[in-house]
């Protein structure tokens, strides 16, 4: 028997008895950030290869979700700060070693560009739209002409944003569940997959929906593959990581992880998408919604379970 207790007493809010310094805004933000990254990735990719006209949902409609997702996500992040009035300190320095600094600066570039992106489509969507001022008209004409340049900036930035949501967690060597090198790619793939699902949902074009159902299937398969590798890494890892994996494979997060993330969030939508591709009639909202909810639950599970895993006590 080995028992450790705090003889001097210690009951610090959010640290004892179990670390819980990050609350619901963090997983919500990680989800929305990943979704925005995925939507921007597809939008800029199809703009760069010149398929804007054939892919209206991807390049024109889906990006409308991006600024909304980013504003809500950043609002959630801001809400979770405990020293809110000093948030501007993020932008007085660049810290190469800190993933959060990378994310803050990436968002500084992505958020305004995502607003510009949808603004450049206003004239196309509302033919009578006017920017009221001459100089604004000129700027927006110039932006619309140079949308491809914007796409070239957004393509790498969206990958940085998507992968950073995972690296933010995996950089913490104190939390064995997070501290694995595959979490960055896993979050990126998951973000791309939720974005592809959202696109299939809002697309009205049969060809486009078909293509994105296929893309989503490939992404779901990749995600399952990476998840398997993550667990293999845990099982072959040190005892703290084996204990971390046990939280999801037998511990308190088993049911929510396997039912809502793996079965309802990945396997079942994949089956529905396959049946859709081979010709069965499947309501498109069902697999899309399942993938999106699965992505959100996945981030909640990872953030909550990760904070429980530790080295001491």
């Amino acid at each position: 028997m080995k028992e450790v207790l705090f003889a001097s007493g210690r009951n610090i809010p959010n640290v004892d008895p179990q670390l819980h310094a990050w609350h619901w805004p963090i997983p919500v933000y990680l989800f929305l950030g990943g979704l925005a990254a995925g939507l921007l990735f597809f939008a800029s990719y199809y703009t760069i290869i010149g398929k804007e006209k054939e892919m209206p949902a991807v390049t024109k409609w889906a990006p409308f979700f991006v600024p909304i997702a980013l504003v809500v996500g950043l609002g959630a992040l801001f809400y979770d700060l405990t020293n809110k009035l000093f948030f501007w300190r993020l932008y007085t320095t660049i810290r190469i070693e800190s993933p959060m600094s990378w994310g803050a600066w990436a968002l500084m570039i992505i958020t305004p560009l995502s607003f510009l992106w949808i603004a450049s489509y206003f004239k196309e969507i509302f033919p009578n739209w006017s920017w009221k001022f001459d100089f604004l008209e000129k700027i927006m004409d110039w932006v619309t002409e140079n949308r491809k340049v914007m796409a070239w900036i957004l393509l790498p930035m969206s990958i940085i944003l998507g992968i950073y949501t995972g690296i933010l967690l995996s950089a913490f060597n104190a939390r064995p569940l997070w501290n694995n090198s595959i979490l960055g790619p896993l979050f990126l793939v998951s973000g791309l997959s939720t974005a592809a699902a959202l696109i299939t949902w809002i697309s009205k074009d049969a060809h486009e929906r078909h293509l994105f159902t296929k893309i989503d299937l490939v992404l779901i398969a990749t995600e399952l593959f990476i998840l398997t590798h993550m667990f293999m890494g845990f099982q072959a890892g040190p005892s703290v990581q084996q204990e971390a994996a046990f939280l999801l494979n037998g511990g308190e997060f088993t049911v929510v992880f396997w039912v809502f993330v793996v079965i309802l969030g990945l396997v079942f939508p994949a089956i529905l998408e396959i049946s859709e591709l081979i010709g069965y009639k499947v309501p498109v909202a069902v697999p899309a919604m399942l993938v999106i909810i699965g992505g959100l639950v996945f981030r909640f599970v990872m953030v909550e379970a990760g904070q429980i895993t530790r080295y001491l006590y």
């Binding site: 028997m1 080995k2 450790v4 700060l81 405990t82 809110k84 070693e97 959060m100």
Partner: protein, 177 residues
């Protein structure tokens, strides 16, 4: 210059004087603490071992809290002491998540707070509140780089361990066993 501590687990009785001294010296808000005492009971009677440890921030050489801080509020000052600048801290809690020792907490004012090795008295005192008050004198504080300092001498002569070395942070607090 590299400040560190050696804490004698054979002399520590777990009285908690170091905790109270720290709270008084550093104006730690009520209900919070920058150092604490753990009691480890290993085995069952009659084969049982008891160990008291006075624990605090390990002022790690490879400090994850400094690495992940997005604003540079967590930084290392002379002597390898990890400190937080309150008006640079945005309260993102990343450093709290990154600490394997749970040595950091959010101050009720919003910023993150932790042990500073009583950095504010360093100009005129080569000691900390916890080591100064310890009734069994089990906390040795000093310069690890100086081979003649008390802490270096005792680490040369005694067996010691550090906490969670597998976390890779290179802690600078050593427990004499």
């Amino acid at each position: 210059m590299r400040y560190g501590m050696a804490i004698d687990t054979l002399k520590c009785v777990g009285c908690g004087d170091c905790v109270v001294a720290c709270q008084t010296e550093n104006n730690v808000p009520f209900g919070y603490c920058r150092d604490w005492i753990t009691e480890t009971i290993d085995g069952t009677y009659p084969q049982v071992e008891l160990e008291f440890r006075s624990e605090r921030c390990n002022h790690c050489e490879n400090s994850p809290c400094v690495r992940c801080c997005p604003t540079g509020a967590s930084h290392i000052v002379e002597g390898g002491i990890v400190v937080v600048t309150a008006d640079k801290c945005i309260g993102c809690s990343a450093c709290i998540e990154s600490c394997p020792y749970d040595a950091r907490y959010t101050h009720p004012l919003g910023h993150v707070d932790k042990c500073t090795f009583c950095h504010h008295v360093r100009d005129y005192k080569q000691t900390t509140a916890c080591s100064a008050v310890c009734p069994t004198s089990c906390i040795y504080f000093g310069d690890l780089d100086n081979p003649k300092s008390e802490v270096s001498m005792i680490l040369k002569n005694r067996k010691f361990k550090d906490l969670a070395p597998e976390a890779g942070t290179k802690p600078q607090i050593f427990y004499l066993i």
